[in-house]
Amino acid sequence: MSPRRTDTGGRIDRLKTIRFSFDGVAYTGHAGDTLASALLAKGVTLFGRSFKYHRPRGLLTAGVEEPNALVTVLKGEVREPNIPATMVEIHDGLVAISQNRFPSLAWDIHAVNQLGGKILSAGFYYKTFMGPVIGPLKGTRFWMFCEHFIRRAAGLGSAGSAKDPAHYERMNAFCDVLVVGSGPAGLMAAKAAADQGARVMLADLEPRFGGSTNWSNETIDGAPAADWARRTVTQLEGRDNVRLLPRTTVWGYYDNNTLAALERVSDHKEQPAKGEPRHRYWAIRARSVVLATGAFERPLVFPGNDRPGVMLAHAAERYANEFGVLPGERIALFTNNDSAYRAAIALKKAGAAIVAIADVRSELSPEMRKLATEAEAEIFAGHAVVATEGGKALSGVKVQRFDMVTGALTGDERSIHADCLLMSGGWSPTIHLASQAGAKAEWNAARQAFLPPKPAQQWIGAGAFTGSFSTAEAIAEGRAAGLAAAGGTSTPAALPTVEAVHGDPDPAPVFEIRAKGKSFVDFQHDVTAEDVRLAHREGFVSVEHLKRYTTLGMATDQGKSSNVPGLAIMAEALGKPIPEVGTTRFRPPFAPVSIGSLAAERFGDLKPERLTPMHDWHVANGATMYSAGLWYRPMIYGLSGETIEQAYVREAKATRESAGIVDVSTLGKIAVQGPDAAAFLDRVYTNMFSTLAVGKARYGLMLREDGFAFDDGTTWRLGEQDFLMTTTTANAGKVMQHLEYFLDVIWPDLKVHVTSVTDEWAGAAIGGPKARQILAACVTGTAVDNATLPFMGIVHGQIAGVPVMICRLSFSGEMAFEVYSGAGHGIHVWEALIEAGKPFGLVAYGLEALGTMRIEKGHVTGAEIDGRTTARDLHLDWMLSKKKPFIGSAMMDREGLIASDRLELVGLIALDNRPLNGGAHIVEALDETNPHGSIGHITACCYSPALGKHIALALVQAGKARHGTRAHVSDPLRNRFGPVEIVSNHFYDPEGTRMHG
């Protein structure tokens, strides 16, 4: 039998045995156990090591606020570090290991840090490691040398780099009432709201609904509270307007009642079902929220309060009643309030001996005295625990007479033999979500706790969350909250009756017992009461300074138990009331959230792939695909053994010699329709479009409002009121929004509709001396000769039986045509063109060859229209109409935009006949050892088959005036230096005779 497992009781399934391992040791537990309860049942007391001093630590809590018992869960190579053992449900095959210890949990070499105790006080790092002023360790080196070791000593668990094979999902949910917490208040609220017909969601971070009913010894309506809870849950389960979410932590309260929750869907299973996610991230838009999140018990601060075996009182109650595990055989209690007496009774009933109850209060109520007697405990009223004894497990405690008002300890210490000490320092309502929702918590002197603020969003509180700690109050408030949240009115029906131990909800205002030895406030980060006082001495007295200077509350438990005791100690040092020290504003998340859940369906699928109609053809025909924004485009169609350069040179050469075809479906295409379409285009382009004839296209340039160049492209007039605008691939979305903005916001009187038709059309650009012959061979229904289809003309016809629209325009500088067809026919037309081109030596070419030919022609793209260049910089000032205002026209002549030293577009020819690099800079005089004096940079470069030279486009200061002069490329990053000649950007056929035919 397990040494600590009770014979009966608990909500575990004793018939189901589960096998798991911890630190390589095989254990068994029962279905319904957490890793914490299962190990505790086997007599394990040592669960972890603290962050700074590596002190041995046991379980402090039984829930999400656990600071000590952090483990790493292993799934093969995939690691999940820093998980509280209290939140891990065991399953067959579970593998967990302890962390932050070397070589083992029992013998940890870093525990030597404890010897440095006083030196390693708060703020220690700021005061040393500055290093010598001179020598090899000056500057930052000494610190970085020390940091190397500090980093290795710090940190808790390890993350892995193996990809998590699990998948994660997001759910968007809408409801009338979201109830957070399923204790008596939450259950009542959910039921009341559901009865009103509201769409209800009920979330609880535990696997079992019911909250405290799972471990209180109370009865509701005459039955054990847990039975009442189970009955209520069953009723809710049967309703289709209710969604129940167990294992779901509501962790964020965002604007407009948007809440974020994490459902641990399959962590508790050995294997998830097919397609089942590991975690599901619920984004919940709730009309109203009922916060029934309960309260956290606080530890007391006294020397040795961190020794394994020292535990919160209610946690022990939970282990006994919910899991059937006794945390000790001889249990002592230390409290400042009545709630611990309930724990004493529970543990007594479960079979432990209650050896002592030390209560800081000298006056105890008769009820509490009665309970203590019932528990057969020796009462030490007006006493405090001043020390604990033992190593990796508790062996005893010392108590001494304590004056609550002065804090003085008097009389002899008395030793009590105990293997477990339960402490209760009062309760802090779990107000995190309310605080996140945007209001400041309010201190309640009676409860010695921060209570929820007045709602800044649509929520209603109920139960312990509001400071109402009794179950009867929780039930009443829960129902009222549920009704109100659903917009219903109170019903006269009787509330369930509760049979419970009555206690005073108000604790004595005692947080710390000042005696010799380390008293921990923040257990995980090893922040002691002395550290808080040191922060005070050094002036770090506001709550935020306290946190930041001492790291109090910054650990994985986020100060759930340490926050108020820390504030109280600072308040005492300052001689001020607690609320004047400040209140911490809680921020999301309430409890740590897996990053996988937040990425959700985008884990492994960050961005959709955008594919052209011809995509599969490109891939099948050997294209190397290039990701351009979300699109994939062919970079080259390499033949076997070809380098990238060989491939694009071959493709470009073939195009200039015979013909080439390229997929241009990615160009942004916008239908601009309506009676004012032409007038609108006159306003958005720098040049005129109202004068464009139907059936013709024109190249256009757009500026931003601030006068800088924005985008370019051709726009085709398909009808009097019907234009097809093309944009660059990269700017398609931005241009669309730009047009919509002006139509909706600035010129609502214009009758123009704009629609994205990028995906409607497949586009193939076919160019080269043979291009027209190829078209003539496959186009029917129209001629394509110069008279029918002049430069910038548009015709309609068919290819292989499907309608096409052909515009004669050229980016390559060759006689070229863009052939547009319905996207669903794109591949059909493309293959027909390829087939027709076979006798003419037609090649498919990719972005590299496209880029090469555009560099040869000196056309600009996004590399030159980079958001900092003007039309003049790019020698496009001929497009700036003087006849009309246009977007940007008022701002384009400001002094900064016409300065003489601006970067201007030029061409470069490598005089050393070696390849150039994109991003290389240009200098007048070369200095390889100490590069300086940049006058510009290369925006694009290639080997030009047409020129037989390595050439580039560049932006160079006052570049136009430098034509014909020599300069140098200076590329220290790639150690490429050499002479270049600065020339016009129009390298190839500047008169355009080839494309005009």
Binding site: N256, R285, E705, V745, P748, F886, M891
Partner: protein, 98 residues
């Protein structure tokens, strides 16, 4: 954060594109008043409190909305089409009744 689009109803902020300060006035296109142009392009009221701003429902109906939102609390007090479309507001009401 939710913005109640007059056409689509309440939608998550992720569906919207922020288009900034709605108080700016674009000068007449032919205006040579550079002060006014500069103010329009560069100067912002940036209040701590209610802010009159423009959002596009880019992941929805793509209409531009005039939104009054408190920059201290993110509370939205009004939303309307920038383009005064009374007809659709009326439709919305009709739908609410139905």
């Amino acid at each position: 954060m939710l913005i109640t689009c007059p056409y689509c109803g309440p939608r998550d902020v992720i569906e919207f594109t922020y288009q900034g300060d709605g108080n700016r006035e674009r000068p007449d296109p032919a205006s040579q008043n550079f002060e006014a142009w500069n103010a329009y392009v560069y100067d912002r009221l940036n209040p701590a409190g209610d802010h009159n701003e423009i959002w596009q429902h880019s992941g929805g109906c793509r209409a531009h909305l005039r939104v009054v939102r408190n920059t201290l609390t993110h509370e939205i007090s009004s939303v309307a089409f920038v383009r005064g479309d009374h007809a659709s507001a009326a439709r919305r009401k009709a739908e609410d009744k139905a």
